[in-house]
């Protein structure tokens, strides 16, 4: 029989990376910045967490799960923030082309991740660079989850980041819809000249949105690495693919984090679908193609149905310069 609970469990795990990735990008895009560097940021977030965890384990301090989690999370956020700041500075302060900057950032971020992932051993002289120990801390779930059978497995068996991701989605959604900050942010993305004239500091909002968005996305990358990859480094290609899918999910979600949440779980399901089908090994690539094909179909469907409220932020991809007349 098809292991439904197991499947949903894994789908949610992969989906959570996508949730964080796309929520970060939604926040970024709401400020009018299209960040194609998300794949790079997610990879950097993952590798920063890895470096943090690695340094902690090798520091000789007595291992504590809480400290390990705190350090890796902090390292991940810091790493993603620094990388995102490159993008923010170039596009917001220097006002250069967002697409090109984003792609360069992806090259840089993926390179950074592969470099440190691949060279950490060499650089430090350590025997192994796995942080499986810390990964276990991330996987710790509620104690009663295993007693509740399938329900427990579907709802309660995840590490805390899955729930944190849901909370982040709800918070971002609330901030965007119900708060003054959200209103101002949307105004910046829709019409920066108007926001500027209304006394909103466009630059500051853009910086905050891209940086916080970048950190959320970076966390998504790190989560993929620590949970799905069990904290042992292979290479960054899967994480960067997650990044591209996250960007595509933003369109799927018509810039609404809650829709992105469910969309991500669905895509997570497609991502791992092959392992749960009885197809021959030859068919694996065909099944693995599904997320991309579905994304294409979604892109087409969204473009066919044009409605004012479902359009991207009006100034998406354009840099704002006050004295442009």
């Amino acid at each position: 029989m098809f292991p439904v609970a197991e499947f949903i469990n894994r789908a949610v795990m992969v989906g959570t990376s996508l949730v964080l990735g796309s929520t970060g990008e939604i926040l970024t895009e709401k400020s009018g910045n299209l960040n194609l560097g998300i794949p790079g940021i997610m990879c950097s977030g993952a590798v920063s967490g890895l470096i943090g965890g690695f340094l902690y384990i090798n520091s000789g301090a007595k291992f504590s799960a809480a400290a390990a989690v705190a350090i890796t999370l902090a390292a991940c956020c810091l790493g993603s923030l620094i990388v995102t700041l490159i993008y923010s500075f170039l596009t917001i302060t220097l006002r250069v082309n967002q697409n090109v900057t984003g792609l360069a950032l992806t090259t840089f971020g993926v390179g950074l991740a592969n470099f440190f992932g691949g060279s950490l051993k060499q650089l430090s002289g350590a025997d192994s660079i796995s942080i499986v120990k810390i990964a276990k801390a991330y996987k710790a779930s509620l104690p009663f989850a295993s007693k509740l059978g399938d329900i427990g497995k579907i709802l309660f068996s995840y590490g805390f980041i899955v729930y944190l991701a849901i909370i982040i989605v709800l918070v971002v959604s609330f901030v965007l819809k119900k708060t003054r900050v959200g209103l101002h942010l949307c105004a910046v993305g829709e019409n920066p000249a108007t926001a500027d004239a209304a006394g909103i500091n466009v630059t500051r909002y853009k910086y905050f949105a891209t940086c916080i968005g970048g950190m959320i996305s970076g966390l998504g990358g790190f989560y993929y690495f620590i949970d799905y990859m069990n904290g042992s480094w292979e290479d960054a290609s899967k994480i960067s693919q997650c990044g591209w899918l996250s960007i595509a999910l933003v369109i799927f979600a018509i810039w609404r984090p809650v829709i992105a949440l469910f969309g991500s779980y669905v895509f997570g399901g497609l991502w791992i679908l092959y392992n749960y089908t009885g197809f021959s090994v030859q068919m694996e690539p065909i099944i693995n193609m599904l997320p991309y094909v579905v994304t294409i179909i979604v892109l087409i469907t969204v473009s066919l149905r044009r409605k004012r409220e479902t359009q991207p932020p009006a100034s998406l991809g354009l840099n704002y310069f006050r004295e442009d007349r």
Binding site: L112, G118, Y292, L299
Partner: protein, 379 residues
């Protein structure tokens, strides 16, 4: 305002001004842009040098010597780097017409890969069974056709429904990759993940019909021809003119009766076709094998090459040289120190950031108002 001295009074006027004032430049000379870009590259190289030194502990001069040697150390190495240059240049030329039209084709990777897949398929089926020249022609044509198909699909949707082309083409890359994996799984009987030269062979005993020098000449030849073609096509042909108009303003294009949809699809067909040639060169001429990473991210690098050259095919020779030099050189440095080859991506990224960032100083004028600092303290 409590300041009473006359000097403070005279500062009041300036105090109203923001500390940094930025204005848009109305014009920029070629000389200026050369200077700014050179300075940017130099600063970037210095930073790269510092990073390299920190990571390897090697003297920076030695590092650059080692990078240079990796590219030009001997005739063979030189041929390799020039071949690499030619391939990257071709991919860059492929994406350029689309970019001139403001069509963000991030799918060169997939278009080239799909072209390569077609070549591999033809070679697998007919290799050794038909005349080699015929086989060569068949692979070339099928590669081009495959590239065209892969490029035209997203463009049709873009043209008719304004479907987001950046993501569409990106996703097409992954679809092409999976198709190549599928092909390999079917073709390689022993379950291996590569299709090796033994299966994609010509009728000669070794399976090879070109010497490595010939391979180089063929690839370089294609690069030269396509560069010249692109330069003329974009700047002097009616099609090229239409591409520019559509890129600058779709409304103007419609106003003068250009069929915008046709131009979009046609241009992407050309883009895809050139990518198909790259697929042919990589699979049939250069390696006689195929794997999902055979294009190796050149589709993205090409976007930078093209953009940095301001979509000018001749300047692209220069920009693609810069990136290839770095890639091979930094790769060599990394290898010498047993570091990951991705080191070159980091250096490439840094240099790109600087070259991209320096655009700001070409488009804007920055003026610092130091008086403001002084007067602010007095408040």
């Amino acid at each position: 305002m409590t300041a009473t001295s006359k000097t403070a009074e005279s500062r009041v006027e300036n105090a109203h001004e923001p500390f940094i004032s930025i204005t848009r430049r109305t014009s920029s000379t070629i000389g200026r842009s050369l200077v700014v870009r050179t300075v940017a590259v130099v600063i970037a190289l210095i930073i790269c040098a510092i990073i390299t030194v920190v990571l390897t502990g090697e003297n920076p001069i030695n590092v650059f010597v080692s990078m240079f040697e990796a590219n030009f150390g001997n005739l063979n190495l030189m041929m390799v780097s020039m071949q690499e240059l030619a391939i990257l240049l071709l991919v860059s030329l492929a994406v350029t017409p689309a970019f001139r039209m403001k069509f963000w084709n991030c799918g060169a990777e997939g278009q080239a890969l799909f072209g390569g897949l077609a070549a591999a398929l033809v070679m697998l089926l007919w290799g050794g069974k038909i005349n080699d020249i015929l086989l060569l022609a068949a692979t070339l044509i099928s590669s081009i056709l495959a590239g065209v198909i892969w490029g035209v699909i997203p463009s049709v949707f873009k043209a008719h429904w304004n479907t987001n082309e950046t993501l569409f083409t990106l996703m097409m890359n992954y679809v092409a990759m999976q198709l190549v994996k599928f092909f390999i799984k079917i073709a390689a009987k022993d379950g291996s993940s590569v299709v090796d030269p033994d299966m994609l062979r010509f009728s000669t005993e070794s399976g090879e019909i070109f010497t490595s020098a010939q391979k180089f000449l063929i690839i370089a030849g294609f690069a030269v021809i396509v560069t010249i073609f692109s330069f003329i096509y974009l700047n002097y042909s009616k099609h090229g003119y239409e591409i520019s108009v559509v890129g600058e303003s779709e409304n103007t294009a419609k106003y003068i009766g250009i069929n915008v949809r046709k131009v979009i699809v046609r241009t992407m067909a050309i883009s895809g076709g050139i990518c198909g040639i790259v697929g042919f060169l990589l699979v049939t001429v250069s390696s006689r094998s195929i794997n999902p990473d055979i294009v190796a991210g050149r589709g993205f690098t090409a976007i930078m090459v093209s953009w940095l050259a301001k979509f000018n095919p001749l300047i692209m020779i220069l920009t693609s040289f810069l990136l290839v030099f770095l890639k091979i050189g930094a790769g060599n440095v990394a290898m010498n120190f047993r570091l990951s080859l991705s080191f070159s991506d980091i250096l490439t990224g840094i240099i790109l950031f600087f070259i991209i960032g320096c655009e700001f100083f070409l488009n804007y004028k920055v003026r610092f108002n130091f008086c403001r600092l002084g007067s602010q303290k007095k408040r």
